[in-house]
């Protein structure tokens, strides 16, 4: 197992862990966005979908993958950031970006914003904690133990403050994915010039699709366009 330890300890190895877990999380964000588009279909479709996801084997397999990926993503990146934080003890008086972007340089800030959002999102809509103007719909549960996803979501995002926060979080996600979804292809070894150009396009379209869909859902809820 020495080789795995050596891989993990190296900067390239830890980056690969960040990239692979990031790739899994990309899949999750897309799946989550598409699933939630059902809010436009109405309460019945959305709640049926919610009940389907609450089948124990689906729920816990999904949670294991998502939580495991997020955990590894953060631990590996934190290790890299900690090591790199001391790589330049004295900074420059002047420094001009040549190719790096605001998106690439703010990864370590957009990441924690997304994490905070993720935690609050789970507290409200998964555990059902009531705080910050958020009040459960009544009745809260359907079919015994499954939260009523549609009423939950529209009740939370009907609040302009929560909706604003969700939109801000999605902009942070957009910034994070704009760099991350492309950067991971190079980390995982995609080195062809044409292939990288294609990867850039796919990463951009992916980012705009996922965050655009999420923001559309949020906007529809706060404007009470979905009933």
């Amino acid at each position: 197992m020495n080789f795995l330890l050596s891989f993990w300890r190296s900067t390239v190895g830890a980056k690969v862990v960040v990239a692979v877990t990031g790739l899994i999380l990309l899949g999750f964000t897309l799946f989550h966005m598409i699933g939630n588009l059902q809010v436009f279909l109405g309460a019945d479709e959305m709640n049926t979908y919610g009940a389907f996801l609450h089948k124990p084997e689906i729920l816990w397999a999904g949670r294991a993958v998502v939580f495991g990926s997020i955990g590894l993503h953060i631990v590996a990146q934190a290790k890299l950031v900690a090591a790199t934080a001391i790589a330049r003890p004295t900074g420059y008086r002047k420094w001009n970006a040549k190719a790096s972007t605001i998106y690439s340089r703010t990864m370590k800030y957009t990441g924690p914003i997304i994490l905070i959002f993720f935690v609050l999102h789970l507290l409200n809509l998964t555990t059902g904690a009531e705080f910050g103007f958020y009040v459960h719909p009544e009745p809260y549960l359907q079919d015994g133990n499954v939260p009523r996803a549609f009423e939950n979501l529209t009740s939370l995002l009907g609040n302009p403050l929560w909706a604003t926060f969700y939109i801000v979080a999605n902009l942070a996600l957009a910034s994070h994915l704009w760099h991350g979804a492309f950067s991971m292809t190079k980390t995982l070894g995609l080195s062809g010039v044409r292939q990288l150009r294609l990867a850039r396009v796919i990463a951009s379209v992916f980012t705009l699709t996922v965050t655009g869909g999420n923001i559309a859902i949020t906007t529809a809820c706060v404007l009470h366009l979905v009933k």
């Binding site: 900067t11 190895g13 790096s100 972007t101 292809t185």
Partner: protein, 261 residues
């Protein structure tokens, strides 16, 4: 033209606890035909006649091919002109009255020796870790007996253009040496002569790069943008791929302790 320079002055090496600061210099009568280093030569002559310490900067060939020179001018490694070392940068790239900040490369793995000179031995140790090919010498083989595709030859040559100046590390927001290491890895790994040691080379050079205290690569791309030889970031992607292959998908090699040492 007249220039105002703010130059980092540091008498003692950082390794011996030396600290530095900026000093301001006014330089008059700068000819636009001078190279940047010639402009500093003129300033140094004046400082010497005034009995002051001349500004220390590294230089050798002054043809842009040795990789000795380099410092940061107004936030850009080797100054504002792309694909140019500071010795090949001419004063016509500046205008009368410009105020310039001159700083050494800043990285923990590049401790300052004096003023604008940094110690780049960390690069040498990365090369020593694997930047070579081992061959049994004998009579030279028939030139055409080892075919090399044009594509490989071109890409290896592009990577081999790296002069090891350190501008990539200097401009990287993470002070990463990935572009340098990747160029050296790619240059040898693309050629037939480099194949027997391809994986062990990649692994050892990456681990040495880490051990020197450089930061990690986050694919910003600032390294390639300031590289005087235009080394592409695709070399980093290739290094990543070969490192993955070397550590995760290859059998232990003879004498390999498993820790990459």
């Amino acid at each position: 033209m007249r220039l105002t320079l703010h130059i980092w002055r540091q008498k003692a090496p950082t390794a011996r606890g030396g600290k530095g600061d900026f000093e301001k210099y006014e330089v008059n009568d700068v000819s636009e035909h001078m190279s940047f280093l010639e402009m500093l030569d003129v300033l140094n002559e004046r400082l010497e006649t005034e009995g002051k310490d001349p500004i220390a900067f590294e230089h050798d060939c002054r043809e842009g091919i040795c990789g000795s020179c380099g410092f940061v001018i107004n936030g850009s490694a080797h100054g504002p002109v792309p694909r140019t070392t500071v010795c090949q940068l001419h004063m016509r790239s500046f205008k009368d009255g410009d105020e310039l900040v001159l700083e050494p490369w800043r990285a923990r793995a590049f401790p300052i020796l004096r003023d604008l000179i940094v110690d780049r031995s960390s690069f040498d140790r990365i090369i020593q870790a694997g930047g070579y090919v081992s061959t049994n010498t004998g009579s030279a083989p028939e030139a055409n007996s080892v075919p090399v595709t044009k594509d490989s030859a071109d890409r290896a040559m592009d990577a081999a253009a790296c002069i090891g100046c350190g501008a990539c590390v200097a401009m990287c927001p993470n002070a990463s040496a990935s572009l340098f290491t990747a160029a050296k890895v790619a240059h040898l790994n693309l050629l037939p002569q480099g194949q027997p040691e391809r994986l062990i080379r990649t692994e050892k050079m990456v681990l040495q790069m880490d051990a020197e205290g450089f930061g990690h690569c986050t694919n910003h791309g600032d390294c390639s943008a300031v590289c005087p030889k235009g080394i592409s970031v695709i070399n980093i992607a290739q290094m990543n791929r070969e490192y993955i292959e070397a550590t995760l998908f290859s059998s232990p090699r003879e004498g390999d302790t498993g820790d990459g040492a």
